[in-house]
Subunit: 602 residues, 2 copies
Amino acid sequence: MADYMSMDNLKYTFFDVVRCQELLKFDRFKDYDEESFNILLDSIKDWADSALFPYFREMDEKPTYYDDGKIIVHPQIGEIMRYCGENGLIGAYFDYKVGGQQMPHTLQAALSHITQCANNHVTGYPALTAGAANLIIRFGNDELIDKYVPNMVAGQWGGTMCLTEPQAGSSLSDITSSAVPTDEGYYKMTGQKIFISGGDHEYCENFVHLYLARIEGAPSGTKGISLFVVPKYRLSEKGELEPNDVITAGDFQKLGQRGYCTTHLILGENNNCHGWLVGEPNKGLKYMFQMMNGARLDVGMTAVSTATAAYYASLQYAKERPQGRPLTSSGRKDPNQPQTLIINHPDVRRMLLLQKAIIEPSLSLLLYCTKLNDIHENAHGQEREDAHDLLEFLTPIAKTYPSSMGEVAISNGLQVLGGYGYCSEFVLQQYYRDIRIMSLYEGTTGIQSLDLLGRKTTMKNGKAIQLLTKVMTEDIIKARTYNELTPYADKLQGKLKDVGDVLTKLMPFAMKGDYERFLADATIYMEMTSTIVMAWQCLIMATTAKEALVTGQLKFGSAFYESKIHTMKFYFTYELPKTLGMKEVLLNDEVLTIVSEKEVIN
Amino acid sequence: MADYMSMDNLKYTFFDVVRCQELLKFDRFKDYDEESFNILLDSIKDWADSALFPYFREMDEKPTYYDDGKIIVHPQIGEIMRYCGENGLIGAYFDYKVGGQQMPHTLQAALSHITQCANNHVTGYPALTAGAANLIIRFGNDELIDKYVPNMVAGQWGGTMCLTEPQAGSSLSDITSSAVPTDEGYYKMTGQKIFISGGDHEYCENFVHLYLARIEGAPSGTKGISLFVVPKYRLSEKGELEPNDVITAGDFQKLGQRGYCTTHLILGENNNCHGWLVGEPNKGLKYMFQMMNGARLDVGMTAVSTATAAYYASLQYAKERPQGRPLTSSGRKDPNQPQTLIINHPDVRRMLLLQKAIIEPSLSLLLYCTKLNDIHENAHGQEREDAHDLLEFLTPIAKTYPSSMGEVAISNGLQVLGGYGYCSEFVLQQYYRDIRIMSLYEGTTGIQSLDLLGRKTTMKNGKAIQLLTKVMTEDIIKARTYNELTPYADKLQGKLKDVGDVLTKLMPFAMKGDYERFLADATIYMEMTSTIVMAWQCLIMATTAKEALVTGQLKFGSAFYESKIHTMKFYFTYELPKTLGMKEVLLNDEVLTIVSEKEVIN
């Protein structure tokens, strides 16, 4: 089988770089230890090898489709839901008391990395079921929990998140789905939702939609949105499943992720759709957004996983394909020499290193963020608050960078294969199509960038970014322990100052209420900060590797560690300089993207 | 019908910016005038509206395919070949004496822009037929010309260029197709070729392959390659078509351009394939490369055309789709206000302007290059030589920038549509797939970059780049006529100095024979120079627009001209600063992509 990921790289990042085993100090995880982490990682890899990766191409070639009120998905989806349910993977991070395994989010994220690398089309089915069940557990009453969660955790019922409506798109304040209270305790639901991932198929006997709607008479805007459980089939008084007037109206056909259905749902066409309020009225969006960090990190992880699988596919090709010859000192090539492998051509090496320099720090940042999430949920006092603030700031970056730069990485992976990369026979073109959705899922790049600059940078008077600067400075100091790393550590420190300069320029616009100007280049600010954050992750990875080389405590062979240092150097040499241009854009006084009297776009 | 291009923009670029009507001074074009240029442009637009654009989606949804030795293409291909043949479009730039129209290359390129915008899947069929016929005309003897060219010009026979072999890829020195001379004047051909665009279908009665092969005993490497005409059917003594042992073995299925077949050919399986030498033995690659500039410019034009069509599709969506609201001075949005059109959001405007700032200078550069080609073919003395040298330097840029940055442009166009952009129902995802091949066609980006730095920059002791600097400086001086443009003109001049600094750093490596180091970052050098060249094109477009505004000689309404100036400002503010980072990469002393003893890519 083709390598679609590196377990060495995952374990190095998980244990040595991010040190996720530090989470074992929390009482919640007392049944875990390093060995059980390793066993779980290895067993999921075995499962992914046999149950996920072999179906990856086929799911693309035979996409999900809509047929007469039903969505047809690949039969392996049934097997996957069954396995995840039986092995406790759906409710892995839930409490024992609701059938969970109290697994750290970080371990679950590492397991997801493996399964997403193997097949990014299928992991959303169990993951969204878990997300929906978790919303019920956290904000629903005991009756809702008892009624829905056990079947969801068992993988027999699927779950979804229903946010987007056709007329509203990203603008959730314009949701018009409606809920009318009845005397029987339920609400009568009407409305429609689009882009509902994993919204219907024949391998779950029911679907539990976590659904945003307005209760009749609720305030306008986001403050009038409530959260409901709306099952496809509701339980009759006899405890039997009966139709709940939820119609599956279509399956959006997509550029990629074609094994993952994208449903169009219509509720209450026959005035017979029942929904049950979750938590209090008008707090739906607040509840949903408490899950949003996790959902965004999961998109970031799917992006880096997709780009990781693409990297290993292109690396394998580069190591096997002979073509061309090295240049001689005359500047010519000797046609009588045998061909060389393309991995030996500098430009091919550059494209491979670029991919590596995008995926490796991205994986590291994502595991770091999920670790912060675990700390936030389990620690107390300052540790908890700091974890929260750092996580808030880093989440939009951890979602966006792997999505947008993952696209660049995969395009380079495709390019490594030359013309073959463009052919359907080779897998690169599939990864290229698959990853493109990551910049759209769970808030587009534009929305993530507004969040990063407009909310996360300014929150608590800039506390998060100060905290991040402190953490980064500690890592810079640590890197300076080694002469080889000092120039890079210094470079990173200079970049921190650049971010300060940019904020000194931008913050006054916010202070005087010119938010449009303040936020106009938020996407460039996202590019700049995320490029610097990834440099920081590269530096940590290199410092950890250097430490291992110096102390001789090598788990993986010295070439592995040398490669980490080399990748960091590549990132600092080829990628980090890009912030020079971004800084110039952000410091520029020209205003070119805000509507003025003359329309200049034609 | 949806707008897939702007005739105003094309005519502005063609007549006002590049001043293609200056070519009318040459005797060869004496039957043309500005009016006939305009009539031809308009009539091709009408044809593209009715015969090309309506089939664009369908050709993607029902791709070409291989069936039992045949390739099945869309029936409209037959109509297109017929129309192009009957209306003299295939041999448009050929001499009258071989059935051509002596049309300037530049006008043909402008016509191609229209047809490629309408449907990038189909224009290769007539264009490659023309390219193949032109090779015969330029290097073949009268017998070959008489036998093949008339049917090709008439669109009854298709033509192809057969370079790539499975084991050789881009490394043409490893071609193994073989030609054994016979006493009858023809050669016995054996071998196979892959990736042969437009290589077979039922709407041409014959295919004329311009085929690279080695004559038995020829020297190794590129110096032993000869060019042959190998028809699918050869003419019997009675003048009838009889099979020539050319087998169509497959049609590569691709990520995009799925209406354009990509053929696998096998010759001489039954030892009965005849080929006829074109020109002298062992000069095949030289002949082929004399056509290569034109082929590369055509790829660049197809790239910019594809990105142009994508831009207008995303612009139309942005002008029609209401979503969200502007920020108020409190930083919040008022949900009771009606939604705004998404074109009014700064980040959407940024994505639209970015597309515009990529496609408009690209079109301008491509028309400028084809104009240089016309000048080179028609002028004498210094004018001719300068045109040649400039064209040599600019061709790899004009091929590469629209291909790689066109990919970025279309990705932004897709992003404008949000989730809909990812759906098959909308066209953006098709453009996104289509354009990806442009960085692979006719020499990958890596190969173009080696050509730019390794050959074109160093040729004649750097004469081309000195000449380009001179031409650019003249345009900088002209821009400084206007206060509004002066700061941008100054910025561009600074960038010219940066290129000088980079070459001062790199040239010594070439001089001491360390070509691998000299060329290791050729792709970054390509990025840097092409980013600057496009800034120059933007500046010319803006200067021309300013001139029109100041003199009041407005053909298109003032908003059109303001938009050109605005697009230039956008390019200088958001795109040009990227060269800062590229320069830092190129001046860096670290060597990270050349093979060393330790393998650091794993």
